[in-house]
Symmetry: none
Subunit: 183 residues, 4 copies
DNA sequence: AATGAATGAGACTTCATTCAT
DNA sequence: GATGAATGAAGTCTCATTCAT
C-alpha cells in the first residue's frame, strides 16, 4: 500500500473532523497505520502536509474542468461548470470542509494558493469569451471570478447545513449567479 | 481604564495579525497591559474570549442596519444595505480579517452563531418585502441570504487583496448582486 | 456576625469537601460571605488558616475530656473517654474528615501539633494511674497512647465507610482496645 | 534503562520528601533524567502516576504475606505477619511516608484502593481460621482488620518519630494487638 | 476593618519533531 | 525506508497574595 497516500487520506479525515489544532501528528500516524517518523519522511513538517492536501484537492478540482465543450453556448458551459464544481464538493463533503477551514488560514502558503489558481484557468477563458461576445458583464475578470467563488462556497455552506435539500435549490443558485454576471 | 475593553481590543489585533494559533494568551495580556490572570477573570477560556469578540463584531454590524428607510424603494434600500456593510468592513479591515479567519472555525460556538444571525433580521424583512412586491426572486430567503453573504465576503476578500481599488468595483458588485436576486 | 468564625467554618467545610488543593481562597471567601482581603486580615496565609482550624478542633476535643470522674474505676474512665471521643467525631464527621486528611500533612506545623497534644494530657494521667495500680500494661505511655490513637482513627475510618453501623461495633472496639492495654 | 521505573522511583522519593503538592512534574522529570513529555507517555496525569505508586507499594506488601506457614499456631502466624509488615515498612521508610501522606487523600481512587485490599486476603483467612478455632474474638472481620491496620500505622508513625527505638517496643505492640483480638 | 480586581509565578499538559534502532 | 520512544519548548490556566479604594 502507498504510505504517502494513506497519510494524506488519514490526515484529511482527521483534520476536517477534529480541526487542524486538535489533530496531533501522532493521531495521523496512527490512523494511517504508520509510525510518526514515516510521516516526516514524506512531509518535512505538518504545514507542508496540510499544504499538500490543499494542492491535491485543487488538482482534483481542476481535472473536472478539463473538458469544456467550446462548441456549446457560453451559458450552457457556465451551467455545466457551476453544476460540476458543486457536484464535486457535494460528493466529497470532506474536501469542502477542508477548504472552508483552511482557505483563509495563514497555514496555506502563497505558493499553494498560486498553484490552486491554475484550476480556474479554463473558467477565466470561458468568461473572457463571454465578454467578447457581450454575454458577460464587462467587469474585471478577477472581480467576477471572486463573485462566482463566493456564490459557490456560500451555497455549499448552506447546502451542508440543510437537513434536506430541495432539488430546486441548485438551479436557483445557478440562475442567480448567471443573472449576476450576464450582460 | 476598562481592562476588559483593553483585553478585547488587544486580542482582536493580535489574533488577526498573528493568527489564532500563534497568539498566546500571554501575548494578549502583555499587549493589553494586564497580567494573564486578569484575562482569565473576564474570560474563562481562550475560546470564550474569541467568541466574545465574534459576537461583539456582529453586534456592531447589527447597529449599522437599524435605520433602513422603509419609504424608499426596495432596490434603494438594498443598495444602501450593501454599501453600508461593505463600508463597515472596509473601514474596519481588522473586523473582516477576524471574521474571515473564524467564520468557519469550530471555535465559534452554535450559540455565538445564533446571536450573530440576529444582525440580519432587518435584511430578511427587506427581502421578504421585495418578494411580496415581486421585485425579488421567489427563492427561499435562506438561500438568497447566503448568496448575498457570499457576495459580500468574497468581494471584501478581493478588495483587501488589491493594491489599488477602482472606485467602480463596489458599484459593479452591487449590480451583480442585485441582478442575481431581482425577479 | 463574627467574620473570623465564618471564615473558619466555611474553610473547614470546603477543605474537607473538595480537598485542600482544590479549595481556593476565593471559594472560602465567597462561602464565608467576605472579601478575599478580609481573610488575609485574620490569617496571614492559607497554611495559617488551616493550622488554626487544626488547633481549634483539637481544642474542642480537649474540652470533652475535662470532666473525668477520678473516683470511678480506671476501666470505667477509659471506656468513658473512648466513647466520648468516638462520639465527638461521629457527631462531627467534618472534624474527622479534616483530621484524617491533614494529620500527616506537612502543612500542619510542629507548633500546632504540640498544641494538639495538650488534648491528651488527661488521658496520659489516667493511663499513668492505671499503671500505678497495675491495671494497665507497663509499657511506655507514648507507645500506648499512639496505640489508642490508632484504634480510634481506624475505627472512625471504618465507621464512616459503613452504610449501616451495628450498635455493637463500638463496644467491640472498646473491648479490643481495653484488652490491648490492660495488664 | 527502564524509564518508567526511573520515573516511578524518582517520583516516590520526591513526593515523600517534598510532599505531593510541592513536587512539580518538572522536578520529577529532572530527577528521573527524562523529559517531561516522557512522564506523560507513561502516566496520562499526575494523579495516575501517584496511584500507580500506591498500587505498586501495595503489591510489594502483598508479596510479603504469600508464605504463611499454615501448620504453625494462629498466634505464631499472626506474630510473623505483624513483624513482617512492620519490618517491611521499617526497612522502607519511604513507603511508609508515602502511604501515610496519601492513604486518606482523595487522589487515591476507589479502584486503587480495591486493588490495595487484595494485599490483606491472606490475613483475612488467618483471622477467620482463628475465629473458627475460637482463638480470635468473634467480631466482624472487617472491624478486626481495621483495628490491626490502625495498630500498624500508628506504631510506625511512632517509630519514625523516635530518635532511638527500644527493641522491646515492637514486641509490646504485638502483645497489645494480640491481646486485643484474641478471645 | 472590608473589599475584590489585579497580579504573575508557576503548575500541568500537549505535541511537533528528532534520532537511534 | 520505517519506526515510535523520547524530548522540551511553549501553551493554557490556576490561585495565593497584594493593595488601592
Amino acid at each position: 500500500m502507498n504510505k504517502k497516500e494513506a497519510i494524506l487520506s488519514s490526515a484529511l479525515t482527521l483534520l476536517t473532523e477534529t480541526g487542524v489544532h486538535n489533530t496531533p501528528m501522532s493521531a495521523i500516524a496512527k490512523a494511517a497505520g504508520t509510525g510518526m517518523g514515516t510521516i516526516y519522511n514524506y512531509f518535512p513538517h505538518k504545514d507542508i502536509l496540510i499544504n499538500e492536501i490543499y494542492v491535491s484537492i485543487k488538482e482534483k478540482e481542476k481535472s473536472i474542468f478539463l473538458a469544456f465543450d467550446a462548441s456549446k453556448p457560453v451559458k450552457t458551459q457556465f451551467e455545466n461548470y457551476f453544476t460540476a464544481i458543486i457536484t464535486f464538493f457535494v460528493e466529497n463533503p470532506i474536501y469542502f470542509k477542508f477548504m472552508e477551514q483552511l482557505q483563509a488560514s495563514p497555514i496555506i502558503t502563497e505558493e499553494s494558493r498560486n498553484k490552486g489558481e491554475e484550476s480556474v484557468v479554463s473558467v477565466v477563458k470561458l468568461l473572457a469569451n463571454g465578454q467578447k461576445e457581450r454575454i458577460i458583464k464587462d467587469i474585471e475578470l478577477d472581480e467576477i471570478l471572486v463573485f462566482i467563488g463566493g456564490a459557490i462556497m456560500s451555497y455549499l455552506r448552506w447546502h451542508f447545513n440543510q437537513t434536506e435539500t430541495k432539488s430546486s435549490s441548485l438551479q436557483n443558485q445557478i440562475n442567480m449567479t448567471w443573472d449576476a454576471i450576464k450582460e
